[in-house]
């Protein structure tokens, strides 16, 4: 068994083991062991990758290729570069944190953990795929459990949110399917065989007309998952209704599939289409960045605030990708990672606050710093990271993005960049607003004077997420190098 296939096999084994569990205790222990093993595998993969990279300069390492459907030239073809390795690491950390945060999942625990791990399997599979078909398969596997996760274990208007989220994401994947078929049937433009292999297709000069037609389909297909304005509407509702661990995984990992897919598929395979359409999607992204920030400013529900903040920050990812240069791309991937950790941390904290106070309305909360100091302090730290304070991961990412963006010197790019940068100011306002209202001041409700202390599993979950945020912030170079190296084929292919 090769090192990458394990990322699909191990979760499947965990799922099989979970089927035989009887209660919450067994289910969570097995999920925790499974998630720990996956984290171990991801760390091992990181070091193995460094070792292998030193001696091997092919684009994708640990490649494994097996024919699946011969007639369509569909392969089970997997491999990783620095970008996927970093995202796999992100996934494994968030899954483990998610298991800890769901330690007290009372209702149908077995089914909950199974769905959660199915989702994780889809995400791992997506990140290791080189074949468009398998990539698409894993994409859908990652999305569909969300329906049950939100529908069964969610809160509030959960049936509506779950349906809206699933239909929008599956609708997007349907659009994506047309794009993929379009790419597939043009992959023989240079006289070769039809293929789904991304690396093969990247070498082909797909006709401009086809690129122009299929780029927006592929782009939007992925961008809906990346909450691109105006296709972001599933995200606030979905996050607000989802249980904590699901919000974490979804905002932290699943939404990253969007940006990754845009980069790896839409832009890498259809570079001329990307150039042709970039103006349009830059406008959408910049609008999303500023719109998300202002929307977060007006919300009073903690989850809605964080969901709109995600729209804003992921808008920055697509924005940076469309800036078409190395620095901005580097920033985009860093932003994906950093946002993954930060938003997962936020959702975890929100879940803990909600679990204690039974409200997410910030106007009803106040003075939490006095009652639950640990959670509150971490909330402040996460907030600082979100608004891009130096020393945290957010700063590194945004710095790169805007440095890259300013390298484009036409008027249009400048204006778009300035609009996006101004969102940082708004971010500071909404973060500090929440901190001010919710954490400072007097305790508004008598009942909140005696809230439960943080438990060990909550602390573990928090620390798992906090360490990478600070780690990337203080020592950004090693991860930045990991990414920059892998940008080389994109630079050759797209620019």
């Amino acid at each position: 068994m090769d090192i990458l296939s394990l990322f699909v096999v191990v979760p499947v084994l965990v799922i099989l083991a979970l089927v035989f569990t009887k209660d919450l205790k067994q289910a969570r222990i097995i999920s925790m062991i499974g998630a720990l093993v996956q984290l171990g595998m991801a760390v091992n993969l990181l070091f193995a990758y460094f070792r292998e990279r030193a001696v091997n300069d092919s684009i994708m390492l640990f490649n494994r290729d097996m024919v699946w459907f011969e007639q369509f030239n569909i392969h089970y073809n997997i491999g990783v570069d620095g970008i996927s390795v970093s995202l796999i690491l992100l996934t494994s950390i968030i899954v483990l944190a998610g298991v800890f945060i769901s330690w007290k999942m009372e209702e149908l625990p077995k089914e909950f953990f199974i769905s959660l791990i199915v989702l994780a399997t889809g995400v791992y599979g997506f990140f290791i795929s080189i074949d468009l078909f398998t990539m698409f398969v894993f994409y859908e596997i990652a999305v569909i459990p969300m329906y049950l996760l939100i529908g069964i274990w969610g809160s509030g208007n959960k049936e509506y949110s779950a349906m809206k989220l699933t239909l929008m994401l599956m609708g997007a994947s349907a659009v994506l399917l047309v794009g993929i078929l379009g790419i597939y049937f043009n992959s023989n433009a240079d006289g070769g065989e039809l293929t789904f292999n991304i690396l093969e297709i990247a070498k082909v000069n797909i006709p401009f007309e086809a690129q122009k037609l299929f780029f927006p389909l592929t782009f939007i297909g992925f961008a809906v998952l990346g909450a691109l304005f105006p296709f972001h509407t599933w995200s606030p509702d979905g996050h607000a209704s989802a249980p904590t661990a699901v919000s974490m995984l979804h905002a932290g990992v699943l939404m990253k599939l969007g940006g990754y897919g845009i980069f790896r598929v839409a832009m890498f395979l259809l570079p001329e289409g990307a150039l042709e359409w970039s103006w349009f999607f830059i406008i959408l992204s910049a609008t999303g960045v500023i719109y998300g920030a202002f929307a977060a400013l007006r919300q009073t529900d903690l989850k809605y605030i964080n969901a709109y903040a995600s729209v804003s920050h992921l808008g920055m990812v697509t924005f940076a990708l469309l800036m078409l240069n190395k620095t901005a791309w580097n920033g985009a991937i860093l932003q994906s990672l950093s946002h993954g950790f930060m938003t997962a941390l936020f959702f975890a904290l929100i879940g803990m606050i909600y679990g204690r106070t039974h409200t997410r309305d910030i106007t009803k909360l106040g003075g939490l710093l006095k009652v639950i100091p640990f959670i509150s302090v971490v909330y402040v730290i996460a907030g600082m990271a979100l608004l891009g304070l130096p020393g945290f991961s957010g700063f590194v990412a945004e710095m790169n993005i805007f440095m890259g963006a300013f390298q484009q010197d036409s008027m249009f790019y400048r204006i778009a960049t300035i609009v996006s940068i101004s969102a940082i100011v708004v971010t500071a306002v909404y973060v500090l607003r929440v901190v001010g209202i919710m954490l400072m001041g007097p305790v508004k409700n008598e009942a909140y004077n005696h809230l439960d202390a943080t438990t060990w599993y909550e602390k573990t979950g928090i620390m798992l997420l906090l360490i990478p945020i600070i780690g990337i912030g203080i020592a950004p170079l090693w991860i930045s190098n990991l990414i920059t190296e892998s940008l080389q084929p994109f630079i050759q292919g797209v620019l």
Binding site: F133, F136, V137, I141, G151, K158, T166, A174, L177, Y184
Partner: protein, 467 residues
């Protein structure tokens, strides 16, 4: 001919058994019929040489042979699923044997229909496959809806057959032959030929329940016994699509420039109508009826191509569709036999009382909706690939829009079973052995047919005969 002879032998054996077995032991006929048909199904997969019989009226090749095998598995599964219902309701009224005889007669008609080498054999086969179903639809005589279903079915079927026969006579008038091979050489796009073709096509479109020939579908499915609704939606539809494909790709190939745009329009109309009407159905049988109309629309995407790829994807899709739909109908059948409940509202909270049935239903619906990794996804993906290979990107786009619409109503059932708790959920019950077997076969099919790629490769090889 082996399939036909062996099925005929079973029918005769059942007649003998009906006479010979005393009244108080009639229920053993049920086991006997299942045993016979099981052996027939298993033997059906032994290889069979290509053959032309009766001067070319009847022909068989590997693909037709394979497809008969698929139909056999479908019918066998369906019988397993219906066994409990038969034992409860029909054997006591001494009507168990007729059920089998009628059903097998209809299946025999399908064999002849898909093996036809000329229009006469085709027509005889089609009639033989249709008429017994009318009797079967009206089988639950104590229920008014069942009688209504029977009469609705026979009236529309008679009309469709008549129209189809009229079309065949016109084709004969212009070509001077009813043999497919002769017609292929002489067929030209004269007005009379075209009229004949359209009328002929309408007859088959009725069997596949394409829009606008679908009006009978929902009412008949709702009134008929579930096993028969299931038979109509998978076996009958599958066989009709198969023979339509053979005819379009061989005999009617000269008219391709006419039937391509025609199928385009029908595909769009069928997908949208089926899906939009399915959105608001409360009764599970009606729900599955509209869902199966929509699925027929998807099949047309593959039919439109006229290539080997199209043939392979259509046969592959039908094979998968048979298993998926049988699983869905099987669960409806199980619940209906045990509790008599058939509405979506009754399914609320089902997961908490009957987790296995709910999971099977979920798999079936995911397969119908085309969610990986279950088989339906592969079937649909390849169908769309076939359509895209001929450049029909807009049609594929409309199809994927429909996939999303269909996902909505499939999720409604999943919502009822998994998310809602329900005021009065169906209590836990154990299924009988036959029902469990019937569901097990479908589950294996749904899980394995997609991920296991050699099946598709095999079908692709067989598809070469048409092109």
């Amino acid at each position: 001919m082996r399939h036909e002879v062996s099925l005929l032998a079973i029918i005769l054996l059942l007649v003998v058994a009906e006479i010979a077995i005393p009244k108080n032991r009639k229920s053993s006929i049920l086991h006997l019929a299942l045993l016979f048909f099981g052996i027939h199904t298993a033997l059906g997969f032994l290889p069979l040489a290509e053959s032309f019989l009766f001067g070319g009226m009847f022909r068989s090749n590997d693909m037709i042979h394979f497809f008969k095998g698929v139909l056999n598995i479908g019918v066998f599964t369906l019988l397993l699923q219906s066994a409990d219902w038969l034992e409860k309701n029909m054997v006591s009224q001494e009507r168990g044997t007729e059920f089998f005889i009628l059903l097998f007669a209809s299946l025999l008609g399908m064999y002849f229909m898909i093996s036809a080498g000329d229009f006469l054999m085709f027509f005889i086969g089609m009639e033989l496959s249709t008429l017994p179903v009318a009797a079967l639809a009206a089988f639950e005589i104590i229920k008014r809806e069942s009688g209504e279903a029977g009469i609705k079915f026979i009236l529309s079927a008679a009309l469709a057959s008549g129209v189809s026969l009229f079309g065949i006579t016109m084709l004969y008038a212009t070509n001077g032959s009813i043999y497919f091979d002769d017609v292929l050489t002489t067929l030209t796009a004269e007005n009379l030929t075209l009229l004949g073709f359209i009328l002929f096509f309408a007859g088959l479109a009725f069997k596949i329940s394409l829009v606008p020939f679908h009006f009978w579908t929902a009412d008949v499915y709702q009134g008929a016994p579930i096993g028969i609704a299931s038979y109509l939606s998978v076996i009958s539809k599958g066989a009709a699509v198969f023979i339509l494909m053979i005819l379009l790709f061989t005999v009617l190939k000269p008219l391709m420039y006419i039937w391509k745009p025609m199928l385009y329009v029908l595909a769009v109309a069928t997908m949208f109508t089926g899906n939009i009407f399915a959105l608001r159905q409360e009764n599970m049988k009606r729900f599955l009826a509209y869902s199966s109309i929509a699925q027929a629309g998807f099949i047309l995407l593959g039919l439109m191509t006229g290539t080997q790829l199209g043939t392979a994807t259509v046969v592959y899709f039908i094979t998968i569709y048979i298993f998926s739909n049988l699983a869905a109908f099987g669960v409806v059948q199980a619940i209906s036999t045990q509790t008599g409940k058939e509405n979506m509202k009754d399914y609320e909270g089902l997961y908490r009382t009957n987790p296995r049935l709910s999971l099977i239903m979920m798999l079936a619906l995911f397969s119908l909706a085309g969610i990986p990794p279950v088989a339906g996804f592969f079937g649909k993906f390849f169908l769309f690939t076939a359509a895209a290979s001929e450049g029909y990107y807009l049609l594929v786009f409309l199809a994927v829009v429909n996939v999303t619409i269909s996902l909505y109503y499939y999720l409604l059932v999943i919502r009822a079973m998994f998310i809602r708790k329900g005021e009065d959920p169906i209590p836990f019950f154990e299924n009988k052995l036959y029902m469990r077997l019937g569901l097990l076969i479908t589950v294996i099919g749904i899980l394995a047919l997609g991920l296991y790629s050699p099946l598709y490769d095999y079908i692709y090889q067989l598809s070469a005969f048409l092109n």
